[in-house]
């Protein structure tokens, strides 16, 4: 016998993500999905961002294959955090985030940062109900990353180029990197910064505040 199912298994994620987006929208917070390679500095950027946002209330979902190392770092900043271990999976999906959101008290929170599993490929394909996707790249990875992993750069609303303090020590052409990002995605904001040293962080924080205000204005 033939059994017709016609079930789009990727769409199941989109349906969940849509529900999540509605729920986060009602809370009036800005949800940011941070995507980047392992070691690009996503957690350090978060630590610096949480410190820089001052009185804003921040919650963080940390996605990693294993360990609670990142959640422990975020905890020290005073932000609410929940660690999701994917136990092998290469990305977060909307189902994992829905579970994590239940564990966080989000009333009164201004920003929800979702730090995805370190990976430039898979996370790009999974909608988490976020408002913004931000790709975090670092100079030590090389300036050809946008050309090699176009999808994530194309779908992000902003690109953070991190570790600019290392430019003198690595072969990195910031102009080439920026040009390539703009070719793929003319509307993306590009922030050149060093999360460790703090240079360039103000522009990034200002942009976040602008986006939060814009979201709240449309409620």
């Amino acid at each position: 016998m033939k059994v017709k199912l016609a079930r789009d298994l990727l769409k199941a994620n989109d349906v969940l993500a849509g529900g999540l987006r509605d729920r986060l929208g009602e809370l009036g917070l800005l949800a940011v999905n941070l995507i980047g390679s392992p070691g690009s500095g996503k957690t350090t950027l978060l630590e610096r961002t949480i410190g820089g946002l001052g009185a804003r209330r921040v919650a963080v979902i940390e996605g990693d294959v294993a360990t609670t190392l990142d959640a422990q770092r975020i905890e020290r900043t005073g932000a609410a955090v929940v660690q999701v271990n994917t136990d092998g999976a290469c990305h977060l999906d909307a189902n994992m985030v829905t579970g994590a959101v239940t564990d966080l008290a989000l009333e009164g929170v201004d920003y929800l940062f979702i730090e995805n599993v370190g990976n430039l490929v898979c996370p790009a394909a999974w909608d988490l109900g976020e408002d913004l996707k931000v790709v975090v790249s670092s100079v030590a990875e090389g300036d050809e990353k946008p050309a090699k992993y176009p999808r994530v750069f194309r779908e992000a609303q902003a690109c953070v180029l991190n570790k600019t303090d290392l430019i003198p020590h690595v072969e990195f052409d910031a102009q080439r990197f920026t040009t390539e990002v703009r070719r793929l995605n003319p509307e993306a904001e590009v922030f050149l910064l060093s999360a460790r040293e703090g240079s360039g962080i103000d522009e990034w924080l200002t942009w976040l505040e602008t986006r939060l205000a814009a979201k709240r204005a449309t409620r």
């Binding site: 016998m1 199912l5 298994l9």
Partner: protein, 136 residues
Amino acid sequence: MHELGLVTRVVETLRASAAEQGVTKVRKVHLVVGKRSGVSVPALRFAFEVLAGRGPGRSHDEGEQDTDGADRLLHGAELDVEEVPVRLSCGRCGLEATEDETGGEWPLVGPCPACGSLDWRLLSGAEFVLDYYEGD
């Protein structure tokens, strides 16, 4: 890119449906996979073979020391994959074209070959559909 996870969901869905329909043996599974779904068909086949009990590490005979219901249900099932081409539509000039018609450049990185706009959307090619299965 994450075929094992996807195939696990295929197996879960099949298991639930088979139980509902009274199917104890799946013969054939038909999937519809978009070329821009990010799913690699060889990796998908490999994952299916492993989960259906034919791949490395799962080469036991049917029924022998086999306590996994999904395993027995799927053992020896044929995986049939229908690939769907990428088809795009330009939001500015209205051009509709497949990946092949645009030389393969458009869907991934390039602007619309007719008007240069980046405001295009995918009409097809992103799906991963468990379409039907056959069994007894």
